[in-house]
């Protein structure tokens, strides 16, 4: 990792360090990351800096990425699974500007993937790092608002309250009604918030070859799941964990095994389902998979399918 201070010009505009954060701060964050990796699922307090982007808009993830990115890295930023969501665009621009970062939309090319609310559909590889933006790192917060209490509960692995909550869900609704940020047990020790990814994505965390880092900027916590670590979604023997499923495939690429977003197409109840992972969908379309509504969408210029094909064939 090289440092290059941007040299101030003649009428000195304030100069920022490589990747915005100063090196002392990066060191502090790396120390927190090392501790987090050493104790999977444990929330490490860190001196979260005030960032030029708003709290709640990814400042935890941005600080982690800034602390680990180097000139050789390729950065992918997604929000809701898509590379072109406005805040993902904004964060990608931040690193292009401050760290001269190489960026890509291709999941397999990226060395660092900063994400909000999704894990890519394509399996991750060893050497890749997932950086999750976390709004609320404490999985017990909705059950116990006081930090002083929840820290004790983690220390004593006292997770009965969470089990009771899941049980009450089942008693009342016949199933657990948490659909995202579904609590997981990491390495058989800490209950952890996986960030608000849909529970559909939880199984991808289990024994993942990638390193998974979690940053909560406003709440000033960092935690991690090292590669090949068990991540079990909490459940009961007679009510096993299950993920979302859809009755129809992606309208654009025909995928039946990806997480789908619902898109309202008119005001007469018309709707279609499309992959939330935009890169996955484009790759599949480039490979010749065609969904039932692709022709309609292309005709309306809602999808520039040719561009998607070009993009993938170039990469």
């Amino acid at each position: 990792m090289t440092l290059h201070q941007i040299i101030p010009g003649e009428d000195t505009k304030p100069a920022y360090n490589y990747a915005y954060l100063d090196e002392q701060t990066k060191r502090m964050i790396r120390r927190a990351l090392l501790k987090a990796v050493a104790v999977p699922g444990y929330q490490v307090p860190f001196g979260s800096r005030e960032m030029p982007l708003a709290r709640g808009w990814g400042t935890g993830g941005i600080q982690i990425t800034a602390a680990i990115i180097g000139p050789d890295d390729v950065l992918k930023v997604i929000d809701q699974g898509a590379d072109d969501t406005t805040n993902a665009v904004s964060i990608r621009r931040f690193f292009e500007r401050t760290a001269d970062a190489k960026t890509s939309e291709a999941t397999d090319e990226a060395t660092i993937i900063q994400t909000r609310h999704r894990i890519p559909e394509a399996p991750l590889k060893a050497g890749q790092i997932m950086v999750y933006q976390v709004p609320q790192p404490e999985p017990l917060r909705k059950l116990e608002p006081r930090e002083t209490e929840t820290r004790k509960m983690h220390a004593w692995a006292e997770y009965g309250l969470m089990q009771v909550k899941l049980y009450e869900n089942i008693a009342r609704f016949g199933e657990v009604t948490t659909t995202y940020d579904y609590p997981v047990d990491v390495n058989g020790r800490y209950v952890m918030a996986p960030s608000p990814i849909p529970k559909f994505d939880n199984p991808k965390m289990h024994m993942s070859p990638s390193l998974q880092l979690f940053g909560a900027g406003r709440e000033k916590r960092i935690y991690a799941v090292p590669p090949y670590t068990s991540v079990r979604s909490l459940d009961f023997e007679d009510h096993p964990f299950r993920i979302q499923s859809w009755n129809e495939p992606c309208g654009l690429c025909g995928a039946t095994d990806s997480y789908l977003d619902e898109v309202i197409t008119d005001d007469r109840g018309g709707r279609m389902f499309v992959c939330s992972d935009s890169h996955h969908c484009e790759t599949r379309r480039a490979d010749g998979h065609r969904g039932a509504m692709l022709a309609d969408a292309s005709a309306l210029h809602l999808v520039d399918d040719k561009q998607a094909k070009d993009k993938v064939s170039k990469s």
């Binding site: 708003a54 709290r55 969501t85 002083t148 995202y180 000033k220 916590r221 619902e262 939330s276 969408a297």
Partner: protein
């Protein structure tokens, strides 16, 4: 559909142009100079310096200009800049007893050494529009009282009470360690007083005001008197290591409020008055007073009082008083959440479907039962 998110980059750049246009307003009207804001919107600048945690009236004025007068957005600009500044040391403690007083009032004594100094205050203005200001260029009356009419010494009221042993003594913690810096280290709870005061000093004025008010109205056990509010300039001194003696860095304007509160005493401590303390940059009386009310409320734990109300709970006050963090998190709800919402949609549709099937089954069952029940009657 996808068109809503495609082209995000161009759209983002366009918003920057639009905000610049909105900020400028009608170009027939002369543009505001930063110096005008600094000189003529001083109270707004003080608020930005407090909530932005940076004493720099010029930058506060620039922040207000850039943020179109949005106080929280301006404080955010200040903080995002402040966080990049190097820390080369801590100043010596400022001595507010040596303040060059502009205003000083006490509610606990009719008269006291140094006297009551009203200074610049809206307190006794009638809130009637001065339409002369509408036309600009209002003549400024030169106040008769000059600073040299004031007494040289203005002892702080709590010090007067302290000399009699009636005021809770405030000693620095053992070894007088450097205060905690909550912008560099994570806060843990229960939080010590240096952390609490620091958080409140940068806390939202409106939030602190509401909390302070709640204490007065009964959501907290407080019977406060304004021992003193003072506004004026103090000098900031710094000891560079290579020199070994203090050098004067300049003056800052501060507002200090010390509230005098009752305390019944305990078995070991005789009844005495207790202190609520507020300190703010610039002329910011409302902020300093609110802060001093909440400071006293947060001392509940130290005095063995029950901490039943929000203003007495440090986690509640410290986590929620930071308006830049709060605004960020509240406003992040504008970001797309359609992945999570899709999860909720899927769940609620399924639960409703299962419920309808169950109810339909029950109705059928009861109908079958009713038919069975009624049949014998019909036979009779």
């Amino acid at each position: 559909m996808y068109v809503a998110v495609k082209g995000g980059e161009a759209a983002i750049l366009a918003t920057h142009d639009l905000i610049a246009e909105a900020r400028r307003g009608n170009e027939a009207v002369p543009e505001l100079a930063v110096a005008q804001i600094r000189e003529q919107m001083g109270l707004a600048c003080a608020r930005i310096m407090n909530e932005g945690s940076l004493y720099d009236p010029d930058l506060a004025a620039l922040a207000l200009k850039q943020a179109q007068g949005d106080a929280i957005e301006a404080a955010f600009l200040m903080r995002a800049y402040r966080t990049t500044l190097p820390r080369f040391g801590s100043s010596e403690p400022v001595d507010t007893a040596q303040m060059a007083i502009r205003r000083r009032v006490s509610a606990t004594y009719k008269d006291l050494p140094g006297g009551q100094v009203l200074g610049p205050t809206y307190d006794y203005t009638h809130r009637l529009f001065d339409f002369a200001l509408m036309d600009g260029a209002s003549p400024v009356a030169v106040p008769a009282a000059a600073a040299d009419l004031l007494d040289a010494t203005m002892p702080r009221v709590p010090d007067i009470l302290g000399a009699e042993g009636l005021m809770e003594a405030e000693e620095p913690p053992e070894g007088d360690p450097r205060p905690f810096d909550l912008t560099r280290e994570p806060v843990s709870f229960p939080a010590d007083r240096d952390v609490r005061l620091q958080a409140m000093a940068r806390g939202d004025e409106g939030f602190m005001l509401g909390l302070g008010y709640s204490v007065q109205r009964g959501y907290g056990n407080s019977h406060p008197f304004v021992g003193e509010v003072r506004v004026g300039e103090v000098s900031v001194e710094f000891v560079p290591e290579e020199l070994g003696f203090a050098v004067d860095l300049g003056e800052i304007t501060l507002t200090e409020c010390q509230m005098v509160n009752q305390f019944n005493g305990t078995k070991d401590v005789p009844p005495q008055f207790t202190r609520g303390y507020g300190l703010a940059f610039g002329h910011a009386e409302r902020k300093a007073m609110s802060m001093s009310l909440v400071d006293r409320a947060l001392k509940a734990r130290e005095f063995g009082e029950a901490a039943e109300y929000p203003a007495q709970q440090d986690e509640f006050v410290l986590y929620h008083s930071d308006n830049v963090e709060a605004a960020g998190f509240v406003e992040h709800l504008k970001l797309p959440h359609y992945v999570d919402f899709q999860g909720e949609l899927e769940l609620i549709r399924r639960i409703r479907r299962e419920r309808e099937q169950r109810l339909a089954g029950e109705i059928q069952e009861t109908q079958v039962q009713e038919t069975q029940d009624t049949l014998p009657e019909a036979a009779e």
